[in-house]
Symmetry: C2
């Protein structure tokens, strides 16, 4: 059995707790939170104070870090990787190299294993970009997201002073997708491919126009897109915007000899983004523990992990059942 | 530069020669054929007699074996793996474990590296089945092929005594695909999902009814499907059935907590099946040489290979550009 700790208990942490129940080779050791454990309503798992984590070191094979990318993970992943094998879903694309370097150093010094930036993008979509571009080097890859709620972007909104609550929708430009599938060669900017729509609840007395400006100019998150911001009440947000569907497509259109067209498409339709992301984290938690048992220490990403490590089946079973 | 030999020169071998031109880190050493080299019309590559391969051992990093699965590869892959790193596209699903064991033994004894059963199915579709099932263990995977020409099945037809030429189309049952995407739970047999349609040119004097019986009862290829056989002239075959489009879909419908539906779909639309398969072989040839340089000897499949090995970019570039 692989013994798992959940660090942080929002939508993603809850998703991990649920996903662990679907994987027979894994068991939950505990949920570690900065809140008062008595106040955390879990799905049955025992909640502990974050400070108790270190004392349980010998009972834990891997920690799944379920905090946000804006401020939690940049600090937490290096910190906990001192003592534990870790998995995170750090998704600030531009800062991944820096995050990787930091975690890799800690992991190698302390003989632990960490897989960072796991989930579906970065994660499964990254894998599909890599496979497609390696197989069809003459071609163009485009990634489209949504329509759906981005947890990372919603989280970034909620961390702005004066914002009480917020939800962000990513909306793909379907006209562009159809043109690409039909074989048109397009030179696309980030702005052409998606729109971003934000529903924001302000704290009492907060300056809406100032916050709108902070949002639309936030680098890596909103500055590169056409972003619409709506201020609404908490009641409206709770009623209309609390489901978390998402999805998206990695579309690679390549050519082989003399413009022979070859299309590779990877598509996700998710009724719950956090539950799906959690399921990816849990599969890579299995891979992480296996790498650690083989003494492969350091930081890894999904690009470094042989697919078989994700499965609880033996190599023989996989060859027989899946090839 | 990675120095590549092509072994066997049919549609697949020609596709490999074309694909090598799209990969700047690879160069063709030569094409090795059982035919008279003077009679082989290549795309510019030098053709040699098969017997000359051994003498060029030091000039070759990897041999891409482009023969058929019915009789060529079961003999050739173990044979050439004695002296070379090898890649094949062995696609008789039921016999992969046996083929793997044989090649693995030779490779380990001779300190070579072989990646078997590469292509899109087995190959990319196998990968997608593995990723999807590992991430959403509560779910159902279905693979659909076509409509398109299956090289393996056409090859099997052509090897029957009395058959002069033949083409086989795999046709998916689209009704079933639509039902699955709409969320229906179906218990499907192999026969429900596809039809097989064969266009066969007989040798003069061959017994059509006997050959039809051999085809429809051929295990692993046709016996498990509803198979239609049409006997036509060589002229009609050449005119109507010499394009080689293909494609298909791996569809995994899973659920996370309380029946929350999550759909993973991987889809290929290929104008040339052999050229696409060849492109997959070439990417894995790169991986093969890298594994060999790391002294990872033995047989491997796509399930064992970390995605980064397929790319000519560095780990740092991949993290920066693809995650």
């Amino acid at each position: 059995m692989i013994k798992v700790a959940i660090i942080g208990y929002g939508n993603l942490g809850r998703g991990v707790e649920r996903a662990l129940k679907q994987n027979k080779d894994m068991e939950l050791v505990g949920i570690f939170t900065r809140r008062s454990p008595e106040l955390v309503q879990t799905e049955g798992g025992q909640a502990y104070k974050m400070e108790e984590l270190t004392s349980k070191k010998n009972a834990i094979d891997v920690c799944i870090l379920c905090g946000g990318s804006a401020t939690d993970l940049p600090a937490q992943t290096p910190e906990w990787t001192h003592s534990f094998n870790t998995i995170d879903s750090f998704d600030t694309h531009a800062k991944i190299p820096e995050h990787f370097a930091k975690v890799d150093k800690v992991a190698k010094e302390n003989k632990t294993t960490s897989i960072i930036s796991t989930g579906w993008d970065p994660g499964l979509f990254s894998l599909n970009r890599l496979y497609a571009q390696s197989i069809l080097p003459v071609g163009q890859t485009n990634t489209f997201w949504g329509k759906g709620v981005s947890q990372g972007h919603s989280d970034a909104l909620r961390r702005i002073a004066g914002v009480a609550d917020a939800v962000q929708y990513t909306i793909p430009n379907n006209d562009v997708i159809e043109k690409l599938k039909a074989g048109e060669q397009l030179d696309l900017t980030t702005r052409d491919k998606h729109f971003r729509e934000c529903f924001v609840v302000l704290d009492e007395g907060a300056d809406g126009e100032k916050i709108r400006e902070i949002i639309v100019s936030m680098p890596n998150y909103f500055a590169e897109y056409d972003t619409e911001v709506h201020f609404i009440s908490q009641a409206e947000l709770d009623q209309e915007h609390k489901e978390m569907p998402h999805g998206g497509t990695v579309l690679h259109t390549g050519t082989t000899h003399e413009n022979t067209k070859q299309v590779i498409e990877y598509n996700l339709q998710l009724e719950s983004n956090p539950e799906f992301t959690a399921s990816v984290l849990v599969a890579y938690a299995r891979a992480c523990v296996r790498l650690a048992r083989e003494k492969q220490f350091g930081a890894f990403t999904v690009l470094d992990i042989a697919p078989k490590y994700l499965s609880d089946r033996t190599d023989e079973e996989l060859r027989k059942e899946l090839l």
